[in-house]
């Protein structure tokens, strides 16, 4: 915590002076709390795999089964994030800009993936999409097997991520003044042009944040996925399940290795996206 204190001291070299007070206090507390709740526990995770040595770590995470599971987790999460970006934007737009009966209800529903325990979500989704379920049966008839395949994983991960995009967009869309849009319209821009040139750029940072969060959340998801995934090694086995399996074998180091890789990749993705967002915020 001494580092936090040192960081909190206002020094002109690494920050620009501001007229506002409370920088030391707020940043100090931020870093203290962040360290206690997140960073120190994660350090325990990151230190663990090195009992194996570097070569052991590399061998652990490049085993075909581990690679296949990582590919599935990251791939399905990416597909889910793309789906959520497109549909999440539409949903947020509709919820903020239009009025229609039942809007409140729909708005409330968006939070469902947060409120519903992931295990229940998994059970409900697998009941829906199983070959004898309400949606699984018609899909089966179309020749699509949803539950117990990688497609099932995508469905669960899309479900998990949706609120992130919508809820990140809503406040920004709310705050977005319509003056610019009006100006664009009076200058003769079509509605689509206005959206593309005026609205979309303003929304982009929030949109990126939202999809990044949806993606990051989906990568590690466990509870809702295991019920619908099928869990076949090399085909429909997700990385968090592999972690559990390794724990069952008392292979703490192996479990932590897979965990560290997942953590590292998600961290990098988040870092890049946040950097991008900061860049765009500056441009505006």
């Amino acid at each position: 915590m001494s580092s936090a204190g040192a960081l909190a001291l206002p020094s002109t070299s690494w920050r620009t002076r501001s007229a506002l007070p409370g920088f030391g206090l707020s940043l100090g507390f931020t870093i203290f709390y962040l360290s206690t709740v997140v960073l120190i526990p994660l350090a325990a995770l990151i230190i663990r795999p090195w009992e194996l040595g570097l070569s052991g770590f590399v061998a652990e995470v490049t085993a075909p089964r581990v690679l296949a599971a990582l590919k599935l987790s990251f791939g399905a999460a990416a597909v889910g994030a793309v789906l959520n970006t497109v549909f999440g934007l539409i949903v947020a737009w509709v919820l903020v800009r239009y009025r229609f009966p039942g809007k409140r209800l729909v708005d409330a529903l968006v939070d469902l993936p947060f409120a519903l325990p992931t295990a229940v979500a998994g059970i409900a989704l697998s009941a829906l999409y199983a070959p004898n379920g309400w949606l699984g049966a018609p899909l089966m008839w179309l020749g699509v097997k949803a539950a117990y395949t990688p497609l099932g994983v995508v469905i669960a991960l899309t479900f998990i991520g949706l609120p992130f995009v919508v809820r990140t967009l809503q406040p920004v869309l709310n705050d977005l003044s319509r003056d610019h849009e009006e100006a664009a319209a009076t200058l003769g821009a079509s509605r689509l042009q206005t959206f593309r040139r005026v609205v979309f750029p303003a929304l982009l940072p929030a949109l990126i944040t939202g999809s990044a969060l949806a993606f990051a959340r989906a990568v590690g998801e466990y509870g809702s996925v295991i019920f619908i995934a099928g869990n076949l090694p090399l085909r429909s086995e997700i990385a968090p399940l592999l972690i559990i399996i390794k724990l069952e074998e008392f292979d703490y180091a192996g479990a932590a290795s897979v965990g560290v890789v997942m953590l590292g990749v998600s961290f990098l993705i988040l870092l890049i996206l946040n950097g991008l967002q900061a860049l765009m915020a500056k441009r505006r």
């Binding site: 075909p64 070959p131 117990y148 559990i244 399996i245």
Partner: protein
Amino acid sequence: MRTLSACLLGAVAVLAAGVASAADVTLLNVSYDPTRELYKAINTAFSAQWKTKTGDNLTVNMSHGGSGKQARAVIDGLDADVVTLALAYDIDSIAKIGHLMDAGWQKRLPDNSTPYTSTIVFLVRKGNPWKIHDWSDLIKPGIQIVVPNPKTSGGARWAYLAAWAYAEKKPGGSADKAKAYVAELYKHVPVLDTGARGSTTTFGERGIGDVLICWENEAYLALDEMGRDKFDIIYPTVSILAEPPVAVVDKNADKHKTRKVAEAYLQFLYSKEAQEIEAKNHYRPRDAQILASHPELKKLPLYSVDEVFGGWQKAQATHFADGGVFDHIYKPGGK
């Protein structure tokens, strides 16, 4: 007059005893997945018995989950007074890795510390449309098998070992043939759930698969819970003698000063009363008489882990450990 005073004295004595020693005692029994119904009944019976014997109010708290996960929780610090797990290997781990009891725990109670046994059977859809009668029928083309993942489920390990024992011990069988058979068998599996209950649900509620390989008690419970008109239980010609052992976790029991009640609790599992409860919950009691009075628990030849696999430590190391035979089955190109 004398009788009256005697009565009074007695009443006072009883009251005093009641006041002085009626303590509230709690035990934590950490168990595996399918024993929920069993221990609910056992706990009620034992608490009543303990109350009349000592006057203490006993509450037995339960924690259920996959056997391996539960063992790990105890090692990590879950305060179990007794463990009642699916296989000896998991309790061995508590002794060896957690150092919470001594390595000779399995000798402390009769019958390898296993008051009841079970075996592995098949559950098929009503009428047995695929005519599945034995292990060899399972790998007919087109059949889909539901079984949990041996990596995460104790019952699944017993199922795997039962299949292996059948293929190795049948006339003309060998270890190599057993490996080929088991590999073929897992090619028919569309869903590997993490636990026994998950598999039963996948098979029963979601309608996946043609046959479920599961605990005998789990199969009967599925009939009770999901409807007798939906499934049939098929006994193969041979199966495995599944021994789910019980033990007092020494260090925890001593710390909580519950050793006496913990030991009595486990011994109770061998009593006539408990053996009858076990049989009613479709476990095979050690008591031959009670077992015989439950003809639905069919007699069939059962291999033990010791005779086919040389004990659990060896079975675990060869088949289920990282890089073991089971992993090999799922190696790409290792088909």
